[in-house]
Symmetry: C2
């Protein structure tokens, strides 16, 4: 039987990352392609105890249907964490999701008609582009100078394209690792407010800071309710749990509630109860510090190895946090075409082209340093340099 799908299906693509990860499943491939945390750092013992305690307390409601917004004590705990970061939030402003990917999907569901414009950084997070595309969005980007914002260009893009949403990852962005300055954050908050455009601030990596100042979130700088903030436990706890949250105005939370009811009723009660137990009984802050120390060493090592391996031609970002370095080869190189050669040499990356909403060809690549071991980072960067024939 031939199936006739909805029009939006033509706008969905099989994720490039997915196909690339197939390459990395071959034996002995060193992968800088994924966006995976280091599994050896997952707090298995503490999470095990958290599940054991909530399942062992004799309260069957941990396995019953729950409210769509989420488990109230967890919403209260997250609101307190948000307030500690300068974001005005009560439990009523917090909405639990199955990872922040679901946050993106629900916000797109609320705001995007087919043909609506989403204004975003170029390059941007692949998963966000994919989600917005499934709602048949059009994309406009504004100029960035190695991650920084060209503010006049941003404002003229807003005026010219009338975007329905602005999507930004201002802190240790995926894929570039770059971060907006305080002035840029203030300017973006002001523009969103001035033009009345909802701004999604995606912040999966904010806690993974290796040096430099702690910068306030755009949400905390915005006077009004235009900023919708997305948080996640995927990078600080574990991604296989699938738990994230949205911070937004109560009116938006009410709409999200209706949207999520039709989507999957609610996020797992047991998962929320166990995560609440973990947050209130173990030192999440100490655990994040351990992650920071480990990833900082890996970032330092990768930067050092890049310096040795690509002495002149290539350039790259030097992120002060997060999980990624963005490497750019001289013009004329096409990292998408080079990927099969990299795979043959048992090393993988994500070609830069996949992070551009409108698919601009590109000589860049995203390199992940959180998942590979130090030994793999050394070997992998050398394999990469060899196939690029630039040293």
């Amino acid at each position: 039987m031939m199936h006739v799908y909805a029009d939006r299906v033509n706008h969905m693509e099989n994720s490039a990352i997915r196909e690339i990860l197939k390459v990395t499943e071959q034996p002995n491939v060193i992968s800088f392609a994924g966006g995976l945390p280091a599994p050896e750092l997952f707090p298995l013992t503490d999470i095990r105890e958290s599940y054991d305690r909530v399942l062992g307390a004799g309260d069957p409601s941990v396995l019953q249907y729950g409210t769509t917004e989420g488990y109230l004590p967890l919403r209260e705990e997250i609101a307190a964490q948000m307030r500690a970061k300068g974001i005005k939030a009560e439990a009523d402003n917090i909405f639990l999701t199955n990872g922040s990917q679901q946050g993106l999907d629900l916000i797109a569901k609320l705001f995007l008609n087919p043909g609506d414009v989403v204004l975003l950084q170029n390059p941007s997070y692949l998963g966000a582009i994919q989600t917005f595309r499934s709602y048949q969005a059009n994309f406009k980007s504004f100029l960035t100078n190695e991650g920084g914002i060209n503010l006049p260009d941003l404002e003229s893009s807003i005026k010219q394209h009338g975007p329905k949403l602005i999507y930004l990852a201002p802190t240790y962005q995926n894929p570039t690792g770059t971060t907006f300055t305080l002035e840029e954050r203030q300017a973006v908050a002001r523009l969103a407010s001035q033009y009345g455009i909802p701004l999604i601030e995606d912040d999966p990596y904010g806690e993974l800071r290796y040096e430099g100042p702690i910068l306030p979130s755009i949400k905390s700088l915005a006077a009004e309710d235009e900023v919708i903030y997305l948080g996640t436990f995927s990078k600080t706890l574990a991604p296989g749990l699938r738990l994230g949250w949205i911070v937004a105005d109560q009116k938006i939370i009410a709409k999200l509630t209706v949207a999520k009811q039709g989507t999957d009723l609610h996020t797992s009660t047991l998962l929320q109860r166990a995560t609440h137990y973990y947050l209130t009984h173990f030192s999440a802050a100490e655990h994040v510090e351990k992650i920071r120390q480990t990833y900082k060493l890996r970032r330092d090592l990768m930067l050092q190895e890049l310096k040795f391996a690509f002495p002149t031609q290539a350039r790259w970002t030097e992120p002060t946090g997060g999980m990624f370095i963005w490497l750019t080869l001289p013009e004329g190189y096409d990292t998408d075409q080079l990927l099969p050669r990299a795979a043959a040499a048992k090393v993988a990356y994500v070609p830069g082209i996949h992070f551009f909403a409108n698919g601009e060809s590109n000589s860049s690549m995203r390199l992940n340093f959180s998942n590979p071991t130090p030994e793999q980072i050394k070997q992998g960067i050398n394999r990469l340099a060899a196939i690029m024939k630039v040293n």
Copy 2:
């Protein structure tokens, strides 16, 4: 700031059940309104051990990102269970979801353009109506005779309306508790194939059989790939886990994979690993038998109490499985308008009107018998009869 939402938001409604459940949260209200399993039957100890074992095995991959289709050994286990029910399925035909509500959402996402027609039973599952509505579907129904199908009417509905999807819950349906006969199942499978229309067979209650024959699923009777089957662990294990599955042709699974990537990446790895452990180490069949025995007693009691309380005027279905009885008052009664009086008398139900996609006014109500205790069933039915003033 005034937000301008997408057009689809006008088609989303706050779930009536949600508002009704607020009534039931008041103290001492006996609720027949929810669709909740009996929490005292949740296998807390076995689920606790399952989580403990998978988290205690020293394998951090239980907390890592996973594949979108789902954990392969769990897909294999579910495929085997499906084959035992006569459905041709391999692991490649199984797709894991966050409960079958997400299955409905993803299928709607794949197939429905705004204005497309969904053909469904009247009444139908409220959550399905809500999901299809969020994709701006139109609804057409076919005549049912207390749950049975009027086949000539179904075929003429297909011809007249050209539906994009057919949605059916043929076994112990929510809200009526009624079940299609073997002949009806065969006829529906034939019609879907003949007209080439994807048919969603929603089967959350199939395992909850109290008497009567085990009937084959429509999926098992269909020669081709037009039937998309939805299963869930919500009724046989626990709904707070949020785990369900889709059985479909591989071409549809491939499209579902792309759709779910943009929606929430994948279903919790830990949840899938723990559920796989449970299914392969504990006797799920024995547990379901315990649920059956308990719910059968509650159904019997509710039917008996209805007989005493409503000796003449009202009529009701006598379901051979599932969790619901559908009660119809004499014409002229409006169960929606009567609900505040019921709430004042500390008893709750869901007015029938909410199960009709096009909102036909109705003198019916849905009564749940799985969640209330026997004592609550007795008291609640008597409270109901008193406020209906029909005895």
